[in-house]
Amino acid sequence: MSRDPSRDVAIVAFAQSDSLRRTDDLSEVEMLMPVLHDVLRQTGLKTSDIGFTCSGSSDYLAGRAFSFTMALDGVGAWPPISESHVEMDGAWALYEAWVKILTGETDTALVYSYGKSSPGSVRDVLTRQLDPYYLAPLWPDSVALAALQAQALIDAGETDEPALAGIAARSRDAAVGNPHAQLRGARPQGDHVVAPLRQGDCPPIGDGAAAVILAAGDRARELCERPAWIRGMDHRIEAHSLGVRDLTDSPSTRLAARRAGAFDGAPFDTAELHAPFTSQEVVLRKALKLDETVRVNPSGGALAANPVMAAGLIRLGEAAAGIHRGESDRALAHATSGPCLQQNLVAVLEGEPHVR
C-alpha cells in the first residue's frame, strides 16, 4: 500500500492560520473556518464537492469530550457528509484520507486539524498520553522527556548544546519568511527549562489550524497547476516504554521512510521535519540520512510554530506548497506524535517537471 500506489494522489492546496500564543476570542470552529475557506477558495471547490473529510484534534487540549464535533460546523456537516476523525495530529488524518482515495471511493478529500494549547498547560496535558501505570502517575512533562533524549544524544557524542542552539537559530531565522510563524528571527537561547534543553530548544506554545485538499489523477491537475504528488507515505510506532528504546535513534522513522520510498530515486531538495525540540532534528536527520544539501524546514518548522495536532499536517502542507510554487521538486515531509518521537509518519512528495 505504501509504495507504487494504484492511483496518483496529490496535495493540491494548503492553508494555515497564524500560530498565536492565545486566541481567547475565537472558539475552535471560529479559528478553523478562515483556513477551510482559504483552502477551498484555492481550488474553487465547495464543501459539497468534497468526497471525504477527515480531521485531527485532541479532546485533552480542549478539556472537553467530543470537541471535534463542534468544529464540524465549519465544514457544513449537514446534510450528512462522509467524515472521519483521528485523535492525533492531522498528518494521520491525511494518511487516512489518502488511503480512502486509493481505494477509489472518492477523488477528493479535505483534511484539517487544529489545536488550542492556550486554555491549559500543554506540558501537563500531554502527560495524559503516557502509559497510565508506570509513567502518567509521575507527571513527566513533554519537555522533561525530550530532555532525557537530548542528554542521551549528548552522551553519545552526537550533538552538544552549541549545536542545538544552532538548530534553534537556523529554524527561527528561516521563519522570518513565514508570516504564520509564532517565533521569527534571532532570540536568546535562555535558561534551561529542563537541562540540557533551554527555552530556545523548545517549541513555542500556541494555537493554530491547518487544512489541505487531496485529489486523484486528472482531478488534481484540474485543481492545481503543479500538484504535489504523494509518491509514498507510511507511518510506524515504537515501543511505548522509553526504557526499552534507543533514544538516540528512530528506527520507526527510518522504516517509514524506507517504505515510503524515501531512500529510492532522486535526492530531496527540501525536508519538512516535525521536530518540536532541537535535539529531535538531530535524531531525524540521522534516521532519514539527510545531508547538508537538503533544505531542512525552510518554514521554520515546529520550533517557530507548534500548534499541537496541526504542526505535523503543516509539515506536509509546507512541503507541498513549496512544490506548488515551483521552489521544490522532491520533498520529504515528516510528522511525529507521542513522547521522544514515538510515532513517525513520512511522506515523499514530487512535482512534475514544469511545462511551459
Binding site: 472558539s27 501537563d124 502517575p137 542521551a152 529542563v194
Partner: protein, 318 residues
C-alpha cells in the same frame, strides 16, 4: 455603538479517577513495589524488562516469566528539572532519570534526588528510596538516590510473583486545569442572556437563525455574524416526562423537559416546562421564559395562555 464586551473566561477543571485493572505481570510488579521487591519479566530472547510488560515489545509474545532484580542500578540518561511541576515525585529540584536496575536490561523512568546537576551523570550508581506508605503503585518508589557502590553483577533471580493480598487495580487520578473561553459568538449570547434577552445569529447564506449561536452555520460552513433577537415566546415542538429525580436537583418529579422553538429561531432550544401539570404539556403549547432572581438563564418556561400553534408552523423545527 457600545464597546464589544470582553470574551468570557472561566476556570474549567477536569478531574478523573480512572480505575484500571491490572494483568498478572503488572499486578505482580506493583504489589512487589509495595513489598519493596522489584520484579521484571524475562523475554524469550533472555532479556529482562524492568518495568515489566505483558507482551514482548519486539515479538509481541506473551510474557509471564517473572524475575526479581536489585533495587540498585545505573543511570542511562538524565535531565535536570529546576522547576518541579504539580504531581511530580519531588517538589525540590531533581533529575529525571532512566535507571537500569542491576539484573535488568531495560530502564525505568523515575526521579533522582540530588543536590544539583553537578552531582548527576550518566553511568552514576543509584538506589531506590522507598515511599514510607506504599499502596502498590509506581509512586511506591519515592525516588532514586545516589548510591556509592560498584555494581554487583547479581543476575535476576526467579520469582513466583505471589504475594499476600495482591494489588489487582490502580486508581489513576488526574486533574487538569484549564481556562475555558467560549469564543466570540457564545460570549455575545451569554452577555445578552444576562440581560434576559435571547440573541441568535443568522446565516448569511441560508438565512437560518441559530440559537445558541456557535459562530458557524453547520449547513453552509460559513460564519454567522448578524445578531437576531428571538423569542421571548416560543412553541413546544416535542417533549419528554422525567420520572427519576437527578442527584442534587431540586425539582419534583415528574416534570417535563421540552424542545422549544423560540419565535424567530431556526432551531429549537431545550428547557423545563413549569406552571402546568406535567400531563397537560403538549406539542404546539405556547410558552414564555421565567427568570429567577439574578438568574443568567431562564429557570423554566410556562404557558402563555395563547392558543396552541399550528403544527405546520413548527414542523420543520422538530
Amino acid at each position: 455603538m457600545t464597546a464589544t464586551p470582553a470574551t468570557l473566561r472561566a476556570p474549567l477543571v477536569v478531574e478523573f479517577p480512572f480505575t484500571r485493572s491490572l494483568g498478572p505481570v503488572q499486578a505482580a510488579f506493583l504489589t512487589g513495589l509495595r513489598e519493596r521487591t522489584v520484579l521484571g519479566v524475562r523475554t524469550e530472547g533472555g532479556q529482562v524488562l524492568v518495568p515489566p510488560v505483558e507482551y514482548d515489545p519486539e515479538t509481541a509474545a506473551e510474557l509471564r516469566e517473572l524475575v526479581e532484580v536489585d533495587a540498585t542500578g545505573t543511570v542511562t540518561t538524565w535531565a535536570w528539572n529546576p522547576d518541579p511541576r504539580p504531581g511530580q515525585p519531588l517538589d525540590t529540584p531533581f533529575a529525571w532519570v532512566l535507571v537500569r536496575l542491576d539484573g535488568a536490561d531495560t530502564a525505568l523512568l523515575h526521579a533522582l534526588d540530588a543536590p544539583g546537576p553537578e552531582h548527576v551523570r550518566t553511568g552514576m550508581r543509584v538506589r531506590v528510596r522507598w515511599a514510607a506508605e506504599r499502596t502498590g503503585a509506581i509512586t511506591d518508589i519515592a525516588c532514586f538516590e545516589p548510591y556509592d557502590s560498584e555494581r554487583d553483577a547479581a543476575p535476576a533471580r526467579p520469582h513466583d510473583g505471589l504475594f499476600d493480598e495482591p494489588v489487582t487495580g490502580i486508581v489513576a487520578a488526574a486533574r487538569l486545569d484549564y481556562t475555558y473561553s467560549p469564543g466570540r459568538a457564545q460570549t455575545d449570547y451569554l452577555h445578552a442572556l444576562a440581560e434576559h434577552k435571547t440573541v441568535g445569529e443568522r446565516c448569511p447564506s441560508c438565512s437560518k437563525v441559530y440559537v445558541p449561536p456557535r459562530g458557524a452555520c453547520p449547513t453552509c460552513g460559513v460564519a454567522t455574524t448578524e445578531p437576531v433577537e428571538v423569542g421571548p415566546r416560543g412553541t413546544v415542538t416535542t417533549f419528554c416526562i422525567v420520572n427519576i429525580k437527578a442527584k442534587n436537583l431540586d425539582i419534583e418529579v415528574p416534570y417535563v423537559y421540552a424542545h422549544i422553538a423560540l419565535d424567530g429561531a431556526g432551531l429549537a432550544l431545550h428547557g423545563r416546562i413549569g406552571g402546568i401539570p406535567y400531563d397537560q404539556v403538549r406539542m404546539g403549547l405556547r410558552v414564555e421564559p421565567v427568570w429567577s432572581e439574578d438568574g443568567r438563564y431562564p429557570d423554566h418556561y410556562r404557558p402563555t395562555g395563547e392558543p396552541d400553534a399550528d403544527y405546520d408552523t413548527y414542523k420543520e423545527l422538530l
